[in-house]
Subunit: 351 residues, 2 copies
Amino acid sequence: MSQSTTLSIDAMGGDHAPDMVVEGLALAHKALPNTKFIVFGRANEVAPLLAQHAGLSDVCELRHTDDIVSAEEKPGTALRSGRESSMRLAINAVSDGEADGVVSAGNTGALMAMAKFVLKTLPGIDRPAIASLLPTLRGESVMLDLGANIQCDAENLVQFAVMGEVFARHVLHIDKPSIGILNVGTEGLKGNDSVKQAAAILYETRLPIDFRGFVEGDSIGLGKVDVIVTDGFTGNVALKTVEGVARLFSDALKQELKGSIWGMLGALIAKPAIDSFRTRFDPRRYNGAMFLGLGGICVKSHGGTDGLGFFHAIKVAHELVVDKLNEGIKEDYARFSSEHHNTILDPTAAD
Amino acid sequence: MSQSTTLSIDAMGGDHAPDMVVEGLALAHKALPNTKFIVFGRANEVAPLLAQHAGLSDVCELRHTDDIVSAEEKPGTALRSGRESSMRLAINAVSDGEADGVVSAGNTGALMAMAKFVLKTLPGIDRPAIASLLPTLRGESVMLDLGANIQCDAENLVQFAVMGEVFARHVLHIDKPSIGILNVGTEGLKGNDSVKQAAAILYETRLPIDFRGFVEGDSIGLGKVDVIVTDGFTGNVALKTVEGVARLFSDALKQELKGSIWGMLGALIAKPAIDSFRTRFDPRRYNGAMFLGLGGICVKSHGGTDGLGFFHAIKVAHELVVDKLNEGIKEDYARFSSEHHNTILDPTAAD
């Protein structure tokens, strides 16, 4: 097999699909010339869009399907009745070995349910997690889970920690990523039973990981650790809190600068610096949440993103494939599991 | 009784106490000339600081005690062995009727435990909550609980909603504040049992409140509702996430502007606009978390704040006293309670 990667693409998921999907593909074609795409969706809508970009049709194999999973569809319904949907067929292409990974901007719950059903979870992983990179003062961190698992026990959190650690090594290229569990204080006595028990397990492991114990919410922006582990409820709220505060600051700064002639003049002179600031925190650059713990690479793009954002989601999937993330998780989790599973992680031994 | 208000002050709580406490008192004395203070702490340390500000000693009654609750002390230990501490004596002054409210920058857990023990909770309120104002795109919102209650059932969340609504009416002067429960999606099926059951109760109530259902984390910055209700774990993480992201943006903007001559020049010209932006989001302006649901006004200042921050905490306490917040909560909760308590909120009827 050559160095080329093949990704399957759900062309119909997302608020501005299929237009933004094809725009993303066009950007990806330029940045990743060795990558091929299998594109699932309504041929009459997608084909003319592909034709607008020179050479794009040559790397895209378009497969027609009429069926689409809507944004409102419940995961269970989508799983039962969406077997011919663009989302499902794109996932199937990974399990069939035709594609190395799948990208969709569609309904998150449906994508997770289908991906879990079709691709299965990796050995030892009970529940896949949604992970994303976030900008910090020190660079980038990865946070998980961001909403796949509303309630998590200690074992789930430990699995997230191991998966996140492997992810940070492979994708962020950090030799020994530091790991923290999100909590309401850094002292051992704080928090609920899940975080306390998970911390106890991670402190005891002989795996060569750099576990730093509990971190608080400000660690997300400050980048105190490379991997932030939390349950899907807290993680989802924290991620969206970051998004809201980013909007607040960006809009408020614009308001203040536009409010006076000196503000406008200063902003004009400092434009390159302000643009560089904006680029650094452009949410589209952080688009592409990874579903970790599945037997195949699956990346979820934000539903409301544009072509640039979808391109970043494709780049994330490409990187996960090239870096062989899943092999890393499998190996590390097997090591962790053989050491711990029969003792500390035995649910019957838990209090 | 005259219009004057008396506040009791724990002079020894906080990282930079008693210096920053006295600086805060000096600022408060100028801004709130009719306010008197009973100041608890080590007289040999506090008296010379008070003497540095003209007229300050005239409005401060200094009461000596050697004992201090440390930042590391567990709430239970502080409750048992801190009976002569500056924190405890300051709280006692409220229950004794000498002061209208208390302000401390000390150990949060100890302050809550002592305040709950001494001041008791209001009728119908099981657990007090920590609330704070937050800046939003629309102005200000109040969020609660911020860490007093790590696990919350539906009834706790409903009580927080009622208290937060009264708070927003009295302190933010909003006629009919909108209320949302923080969740991982806005659809009714999302989230854990507590948020779903709490939402069901608030949708059914005949109290004239403006309940908007679920909101996501981005509502915090965007200000989609006036009152954001959540459990103490999620609320604490979200609040600290806001703090971390604020630091990240402020530091990154500074870095970019200082990175080039044009950036520096532009920043100089736009200085008034940038200063106005900084002032608007200065965390010290949002210092002063309210303990809602207690039989007395108790405000917790951030432990790491300075004089300006402590002054804002004093202002918050002053406002709560003047606005008769607790009378409002008592009345509203009694109305809510008589309507609902024997039916929906009966714990034996809950599933």
